[in-house]
Amino acid sequence: MSALAELVGRYNYVITIFLMMAGLYIVVARGNLVKKLIGLSIFQTSVYLLYIEPGKIVGGTAPIIDPAFTVYSNPLPHVLILTAIVVGVATLALGLALVVRINEAYGTTEEDEILGKDREA
C-alpha cells in the first residue's frame, strides 16, 4: 500500500518516466523515419518536465524581487529548459529536413526499404 501511495505522491515523476520510455520505445521500435523523430521529440520533452517540476513551489509566486513576496518558484530550471527547447526545435527541424532529402533520394521514408535499396545498388 505504501508503494502505491509513494507512486501517487510522486505522480509527476511517473508521468515523466512514462513519456521518457514511450519516446525511446518509438525511436527503437518504429521503422518510419518521421515516426522515429516524433518519438525522439517526446523523449526530449519528458526531460523538460523532469527539470521544471521541482522548480515549482506550492503557493509560490513568479520570481519577482519585491518585499511583498518571499516564496517564489525557482527560475533557473525554466531558463535552462528554454535553452533545451530551442535545441529540441533545432534538432527536430534538422531531422525533418534530412527526412525530406532522404525521401527525395530514395523515394521512401521507411528504414528497411531504404536499406534494401542500398543493398541492391
Binding site: Q44, V87, G95, I102, A105
Partner: protein, 497 residues
Amino acid sequence: MSAVWPHLPVLQVLIPLFGALLAGLLRRPTPAYVLATAVSWVAPLIAGALLWQVVQTGPISYHIGGWAPPWGIEYRIDVLNALVLVLVTAVGAVIMPFARLSVAFEVGEGREAWFYCMYLLCLTGLLGITVTGDAFNAFVFLEISSLSSYVLIALGHDRRALLSSFQYLIMGTIGATFYVIGIGLLYLVTGTLNMADLAARLGPAWAEHSRAIVAALAFVTVGISLKLGLFPLHVWLPNAYAYAPSWVTAFLAGTATKVAIYLLVRFYFSIFGIAIDLRLLPIADVIIVLSLAAMLIASLVAVFEANLKRLLAYSSVAQIGYITLGIGLANQAALTGALVHVVNHALMKAALFLAAGAIFYRAHTTELKELAGIGRRMPLTIAAFTIAGLGLVGTPGTSGFISKWYLMVGALGAGQWIPAFVIVASSLIALIYVGRVLEIVWMREPSAQMAAVGDPPLSMLLPLVVLSLATIYLGIDTEWTAGIASMASTILLGGLR
C-alpha cells in the same frame, strides 16, 4: 594586447562563432574559405597562449559577463583542457589548406560557404565544451557541435550520407538527452550546475541521495559514451565517417570524439571522483570490459572491411577503446597513456583520413579492390599513409608506440594481465589490417584506369605530410605530449578520493 589577454578564454569560443555567422553571410566560396582559414589559424594561437599561461601560473577562471560562479557561467581552464584546446585547434589549422579543393570537389557548387559556416559552428561547439566549467553550458555546446556535424556529414556526395547523418542525429540526440537527464538529477540533488561546485556538494549529498547520484553517473556515462563511440554504442560511427565528405571525416575523427573523451574524463576525475569513491561502484570494470571488447572486435571487423574509409572508422572505434581503457585503469601511467593517445590518435587518424580524401580526389573511389597499386601512382600520399598507419599499429619510433607503452606500463602496474595481453593482441590485429591495405596499394600491379592518377596538389599534400611527420616527431620527442599529459593526470588523480 594587455586588454585582450584576460579575455582569451571567451575569445577562443567567440571568434569561431562570429566567423561562422560571417561565413554564412558571405555566401561566396572563396571569401568564406579565407575567413574560415583565418579563424582556424588564430584559434591555435589563443589556445597556445592559454596553455602557456596555465602551465606557468595555474588554472584560469573566467567569469562570463562578470557574474561570479557558481551563479554565473564560469570558463575554467587547467592543463587538461588547455591541452585539448591546443589539439583541436591545431588539427583544424593544419588540415585547413586541404579543405579548399577537396570540399569544392565533394560538396559541390553553391554549398561551400554554408559548409565553412557549419565547420566554424562545429569548431565553436567543440571549443566551448572544452573551456566551459558549467555542466549545462557544456550540453548547449555539445548540441551546437553535434547539430553542425550532422549537417557536415549529410553534405557527403553519396546518398547514403543522408541516412548515416540521420542515424547519427538519432543516436547523438539520445546521447545528449541522457547527458541532460544526468545533469538534471545532479541539479536536483545539489542545486548547482558549476562543475567545481558540483564536486564540492556531491560528497555531502552522497549519504542521503546516493541512488540519485548513481543514476546521474550512469546517465552521464551512457550519454557521453554514445558521443565518443564507446563499444557497443559506436554503431553510428562507421557509416558517418565513411560517407561524410573526406575532409569532414578527418576533422571529426581528430576532434569530436576526442572532446567527448575529455568531457568523460572531466566528469570522472574532476566531479564524481572528487566527491565519492568511484571504486565502490563497478564503473571502472564496465569501462575496461567494453574497452577491451572494442579493441578486439572493432579491430577484427576492420580486417574484413572492403572500403578504406570504413576500415579506418572501425580502427577508430578500436583506438578509442585504448583511450577508455586508460581512463578505466585510472593510474598515473595508464591515464597519461590515455591522454597521450588522445593527441597521438587524433593526429594519426586525421592524416589517414586526409590520405583517403586525397585518394578519393584523384581516383574517385576508396574501395580497396580498386586501389591496387595506387602507391606507385601517388607515392607521396601513400608514403604519408604508411607512416601514419605504422603509428596506428604502434611501431617503435612512432607516436602510437609511446601511448601504448604508457598504457602497457599502467596495465601491468595495476596487475591487470588481461588488458596488457589485449593491448598486444589488438596491435597485432592492427598490423594485419594496416598491412592488408599496404599490400594492396604498394605490391599489386596498378589497374589501367589508374594510369592517369597522380599525387594531389601541394595544398592537399602539405597537411598530410605535416601530420605524418608529427607521428614520427611525437614518437621521438615526447616532452610536449607525455610531459603535459602526465602533468594533467597527476592533477586529476591527485584530487581523487
